[in-house]
Symmetry: C2
Subunit: 125 residues, 2 copies
Amino acid sequence: MVKLDFAKSADGLLPAIVQDAETGDVLMLAYINKESWSKTLETGKAHFWSRSRNKLWLKGESSGNVQLVKDIFVDCDQDTVVFKVEQLGGAACHKGYRSCFFRRVVDGELEVLGVPVFDPAEVYG
Amino acid sequence: MVKLDFAKSADGLLPAIVQDAETGDVLMLAYINKESWSKTLETGKAHFWSRSRNKLWLKGESSGNVQLVKDIFVDCDQDTVVFKVEQLGGAACHKGYRSCFFRRVVDGELEVLGVPVFDPAEVYG
């Protein structure tokens, strides 16, 4: 298994950038620990460490919006990775947008781009 | 100024993903604090907080490979940003590659993609 430098951060978490394998759009960023890294490599589905729930997190376990990992890139310091994925269900963001980065800085304010793909209230209950 | 949730991390640092504005390639990830965030907004040049040198870092201050920020996206939780940049000097990585993510996971090993744009020994002395 490819070794990452998990000791780099005090909490043993490293950032994983999730990019759409087809369009190159950045969909989200989440954190991985050793367990989620090995689960991702083993299953081909993006796994993270949920900082809010403090547990292993298979992305899409609630929403069904699983990310199939097509390619993985590792940075020069081995402390950040890029997962190139096929995003099932059309959206990565828990707010229903395709990308978590659905707001752009315009004249010092945040401008919303695009529309939600799903209604979070329906998906998460 | 757009407010980010710097309190989200114990050290007041948030990840900033740097993406090539033209190709969509992810070039690097670095960390911002309040000061580097406001410097980036003010100057249009990517500023980070260097965790190794523990100081404000204008990307390219040593190499000349400054990043001109064309667009900024903010995520749903306001704890991660994407800088879309024009990379001066052709390379973002201190190892001389265009992107810090110049290695791909292939059969459990890291495979180097592409060749360096510059020789780090010449640029950093």
